[in-house]
């Protein structure tokens, strides 16, 4: 699969797909999308890159072991879920800011929860794929 077209396309596809995955993540509160799908898309971006340039090069882009994203994402989701507990609300209650942030929209705990899911999915998928391709 090491054709020049694929190789040069993958360089541009990586940032585009990552950007699109963030768009899907943010869109997911009311419309189809969300952390899980967004996370899968982001990992697909890295998978395409690794097909074109080899796993070693992709690992150099990621810099750290993708497995590290799992506890980070879980911690973020856990924090988002239990934040209402400190405000005297029940677990998992959505807390929202009064004023919408430009571009993103109204920010609430649901967004952080979804971001946590996003990170966990990227972490898990990349760990699986990197491990499998190491064994090949």
């Amino acid at each position: 699969m090491k054709t020049i077209i694929f190789k040069s396309a993958s360089v541009y596809l990586l940032p585009l797909l990552l950007l699109f995955s963030v768009f899907i993540l943010l869109r997911g509160h009311y419309l189809p999308g969300g952390g899980f799908v967004g996370g899968l898309m982001a990992s697909i971006a890295f998978v395409i890159h690794s097909f074109a340039n080899g796993v070693e090069n992709t690992k150099n882009i990621v810099k750290f072991h993708p497995g590290f994203l799992m506890p980070v994402g879980l911690a973020l989701a856990l924090l988002a879920g239990s934040l209402p507990l400190f405000m005297g609300e029940t677990f998992m209650t959505g807390l929202w800011m009064d004023q919408p942030v430009p571009v993103i929209g109204t920010v609430g705990t649901a967004l952080f929860f979804d971001t946590g899911v996003y990170l966990v999915v990227i972490g898990v998928t990349l760990t699986i794929i990197f491990t499998i391709s190491e064994g090949l």
Binding site: G67, M70, P71, L74, A75, L78, G81, S82, L85, G88, E89, T90, F91, M92, T93, G94
Partner: protein
């Protein structure tokens, strides 16, 4: 009615798991976090039980969505008691793991997964929503898949395939049953379902759904025709993992049956007859299976099945007394079975084998540890006043009241066979003249371990042995609680009122 205490056992386990994942590379730190975390979890669950005892049933609506629309968490005495027992087993297994689990397994995330499993168990006991129960079951299954295969020995993988296949099948059946139930009633909240199912006119479909639930939970708790995956897989992973599996996993199925068949489906004579027959055959096949085995872990695996039969018998009789017996037996069984599998690990560390034929002379070599082991073995047989006796007594009393002589016959037969099996095990492993066993290279024997590891393994066995003694001698206190739970199970109006607030 916002009440953060209820989900705290669940959230805290997740917190411990996340902390453990952050310290992925440092195995000593992981051990410390796991033990300290389990201790704190034990404290939390004790507080929860005290609170439920004082103030009655506690509820929490996740996200503030009121029942029956949101997911409700309910802590009645049964749930809180089982969460406490989960925390106790979790602590014991965590300490035992410090001593016995190999570093290679810890490197692949043994401790985080253990805590995720305990989180799943606590969640399953606390949830008041049938679909959420399914989700917790999935969390339990997925964590247990990882635990059963971690290390990747050949025997482990072979056991894991059977375990995975049967449990996935059970999940499919369970999910189908939930789908039909939702189609019938349009609700998933268990308290609401209790009211809605009673109104459904198509009783035939309700009965079919009840049978589907019975099959799904039956596979998970290893009752008669569907038990064969358990003895094929429970003896393959390391003893610490077998301990938490043997102590808790099948018991979640029993808990789910107790909950579903007292709250949602009130069994008619047909259903109680089916459950009773299943109970009798479970007792019989478990006991006979245990008779045939030579590997001590396989003996204990079959005894799990046999004793699941006792709890099922309590449900089959369906009276306050018998249900109290089933709950009492559940409490006793969780503690003792966890302990027995840890004990089998301890014996292995001394001798390097699980085979009864090869083992021998354990009493002569280690008299004190043998006496310690005897406590658990005798509780298992149910010699009064040890813990196994009282639960069986209540179930038999309940069966006497409903004049179910055949069932009593099977329970007594099961008890005698258990006595025979344990007596044989005792004479083979502890009294028989020892034979010279070849030293195996890859096993670290007990006397080669560091003192801390030795103490950790012994401490967890001592802890659970003292506890099972305590259940036996403090039987009145446990019995009062079991009676209270059984009364609440027979009359779920308090549960329904606590959830729906009407």
């Amino acid at each position: 009615m916002s009440n953060p205490y209820i989900v705290l056992p669940v959230i805290f386990q997740l917190f411990v798991a996340v902390t453990l994942m952050f310290s992925w590379t440092n195995k000593n730190l992981q051990k410390l976090i796991s033990v300290v975390g389990s201790l704190i979890a034990l404290l939390i669950s004790i507080l929860l039980l005290l609170k439920v005892n004082q103030e009655g049933i506690q509820t929490m609506q996740a996200g503030g969505w009121i029942a029956p629309f949101g997911i409700t968490f309910v802590a009645d005495t049964l749930s809180a008691l089982l969460v406490l027992l989960t925390a106790i087993s979790g602590l014991a297994v965590s300490v035992f793991s410090v001593g016995s689990v190999r570093n290679a397994r810890i490197r692949f995330g043994y401790f985080p997964i253990l805590h995720l499993l305990i989180m799943g168990l606590s969640g399953a006991f606390l949830t008041g929503d049938i679909f959420n129960l399914y989700v917790w079951f999935e969390i339990i299954i997925i964590s247990s898949f990882v635990l059963i295969t971690i290390g990747g020995e050949k025997a482990q993988l072979e056991g894991a395939i059977k375990y995975v296949a049967m449990n996935l099948l059970a999940s499919v059946v369970f999910l189908t049953a939930i789908a039909i139930l939702y189609g019938l009633t349009g609700s998933l909240n268990m308290a609401d379902l209790s009211l809605q199912v009673a109104k459904v006119e198509n009783r035939g479909l309700v009965n079919v759904t009840a049978i589907l639930f019975l099959v799904g939970f039956g596979i998970k708790s290893a009752v008669f025709p569907l038990y064969f995956w358990l003895p094929a897989s429970y003896h393959t992973p390391p003893p610490a993992i077998s301990a938490i599996f043997g102590g808790l996993l099948t018991k979640v199925g029993v808990y789910a049956m107790l909950r579903v068949f007292t709250l949602i489906f009130i069994p008619d004579t047909f259903l109680t007859a089916v459950i009773t027959i299943m109970a009798m055959l479970t007792i019989f096949s478990g006991a006979v299976g245990a008779l045939m085995q030579n590997n001590i872990r396989k003996v204990f695996s079959y005894l799990i099945i046999c004793h699941i039969g006792f709890m099922l018998a309590g449900l089959g009789v369906y009276s306050t007394l018998a249900l109290a017996g089933a709950v009492f037996y559940l409490v006793h069984d969780i503690v003792v079975k966890t302990n027995l599998f840890m004990i089998s690990g301890l014996i292995f560390k001394f001798k390097g084998t699980y085979s009864m034929r090869l083992l021998g002379g354990f009493y002569k070599e280690q008299p004190l540890i043998s006496l310690l082991i005897a406590i658990s073995l005798f509780s298992l047989v149910g010699i009064p006043p040890l813990s196994g006796f009282w639960g069986k007594l209540l179930i038999i009393q309940g069966a006497l009241d409903s004049a179910n002589i055949l069932l009593i016959g099977f329970i007594v037969l099961g008890s005698f066979l258990t006595l025979f099996i344990i007596a044989r095990l005792w004479s083979e492993v502890f009294w028989k003249d020892p034979q010279e066993l070849p030293k195996k290279e890859h096993i670290k024997y007990f006397n080669e371990l560091k003192p801390l590891k030795k103490q950790a393994m012994l401490a967890s066995v001592v802890f659970l042995s003292i506890l099972s003694l305590g259940i036996g001698f403090g039987a009145e206190w446990v019995m009062r609680m079991a009676m209270h739970i059984a009364e609440n199970l027979m009359d779920p109006s308090a549960y329904i009122q606590a959830v729906l607030g009407t």
